[in-house]
């Protein structure tokens, strides 16, 4: 499972982790029913607290993306809504554009120009 965290992102860390896991599941590296790596290992690799990862996993369970089963760990229940994946990417794009001084209307204009 490939996970990317943006170190400049100001949102709560568990939201960012949930987004990273949602993206990895949406990209199809895990099929429905596949088991995710243990939270402890995800946390260790990302260099963050295991409770933060657990909170992100619980959020994704509440969204219906993941399923927790006793003795079987965490597995994929359904593919995340594509709209939520695109939304996350747009949010990242807008924040990056903001760093360069682009307002939201500028970005919308840019999208119109290139499409």
């Amino acid at each position: 499972m490939l996970l990317t965290l943006d170190l400049n992102d100001l949102r709560p860390l568990h939201e960012q982790v949930a987004e990273a896991i949602r993206r990895a599941v949406a990209e199809g590296s895990y099929a429905l029913g596949d088991r995710l790596p243990p939270a402890r290992d995800l946390a260790e690799a990302l260099g963050i607290n295991a409770n933060t990862v657990l909170r992100a996993l619980r959020d994704l369970r509440d969204e219906g993306v993941l399923e927790f089963r006793r003795g079987r760990g965490v597995s994929v229940l359904s593919r995340p809504d594509p709209r939520s994946v695109i939304e996350e990417k747009l949010r990242a794009l807008l924040s990056e554009a903001g760093q360069y001084g682009y307002r939201h209307d500028d970005v919308i204009e840019l999208i119109r120009e290139i499409s």
Binding site: M1, L3, L7, P37, A45
Partner: protein
């Protein structure tokens, strides 16, 4: 005749020859053997267990059928098995060493039982057991040597460099994956529980004879549990592998040691079974068939582990390797 035909005709001929020996020799000596025969010897060298002639014969032939049949089935199941030198040598060693071990065991058992009135009067086995082990090792070596000539083709492999992962400054990208074999962990857990049960009985009843069984079960159970699951992490500077529920032992491969990585479809038949196979520098951790991550070292060796989502892992590893010289230069 192709390699497959040659291997199979030799294997089947060898299998038939040893089956005849295993059946004919005891039948020829039947009149000079006690009923039941001594079949197990204690640490002191004196016989401590017996079996009827027919059961002992059926057991020995049955084990040989399992070994020989298993080796032939393994060779037939996947066409890659015979075309790879390592797996061909493994099968040769199994057929030759395993067969000679069973024949040796039978001859030693027969000679100890020969011309004694009852099984408890059978001769001691001390040196004979060592001889059988020596013959097995020698046979395994000769079998591997006999199977060595021929092609050594690499298994199907993506081999090509996989896509790269875009890495941006200010981002942390990692890859985490895991693999678990439910059968092995189940067997390990049961062995551990049975061993603990034996130890409890030995402790409560003061039955010292149970201790060796208990220790062997606990050690085997712990080993099976440890190597029933693995987790791999790829972070900026290294690749980390940890085994078992306790995450020990751990293996740590710095990015500088990696030349490139790719994913490959492998099966346990190709690498000689489940578990950790091969030598340091060319090891394979095979916990299930299917997708494997292969890491090629700068030194020429490679490390293979069966793991989910290996394609992304290989891509990230290659990206980090490609980036490594500049990052070490600037730091």
């Amino acid at each position: 005749m192709g390699l497959r035909g040659r291997f199979l005709s030799v294997a089947v001929g060898w299998f038939a020859l040893l089956t005849v020996v295993l059946v004919a020799v005891p039948l020829a000596l039947r009149n000079r053997l006690p009923e039941p025969m001594a079949s197990h010897w204690g640490p002191s060298g004196a016989p401590d267990g017996s079996m009827p002639f027919a059961v002992l014969l059926a057991l020995q032939v049955g084990i040989w059928v399992l070994i020989g049949g298993g080796a032939c089935a393994g060779a037939l199941r996947d066409s890659w098995v015979l075309r790879r030198r390592a797996s061909r040598m493994g099968l040769g060693a199994l057929l030759c060493g395993g067969g000679l071990f069973l024949v040796g065991l039978q001859l030693v058992t027969l000679s100890a039982n020969l011309d004694v009135p009852t099984w408890s009067g059978a001769a001691s086995l001390s040196w004979g057991a060592l001889l059988v082990v020596a013959v097995m090792l020698l046979g395994g070596w000769l079998g591997a040597l006999a199977a060595r000539p021929g092609p050594d083709e690499s298994p199907r492999s993506s081999g090509t460099a996989t896509e790269t992962i875009p890495l941006r400054p200010g981002q942390r990208t990692v890859w985490v994956s895991s693999v678990r074999n439910g059968w092995v962990s189940g067997i390990g857990g049961s062995l551990l529980a049975a061993g603990a049960g034996f130890a409890a009985v030995a402790l409560l009843n003061g039955n010292d004879a149970l201790w060796p069984h208990s220790v062997i079960m606990i050690v085997t159970g712990l080993l099976a549990l440890t190597f029933s699951s693995a987790r791999v992490q790829i972070t900026e500077d290294c690749l980390r592998i940890s085994y078992g529920p306790l995450r020990r032992p751990r293996k740590h491969i710095p990015i500088e040691r990696v030349q490139r990585a790719w994913s490959e479809e492998r099966s346990p038949w190709e690498v000689g079974g489940w578990g950790i196979r091969g030598m340091p520098g060319a090891a394979t951790v095979m916990l299930r068939s299917g997708e494997c991550l292969v890491v090629g070292y700068v030194s020429g060796g490679r490390f293979t582990i069966s793991i989910d989502d290996a394609e992304h892992g290989a891509a990230l590893l290659n990206t980090l390797v490609a980036r490594a010289p500049t990052s070490t230069g600037s730091s």
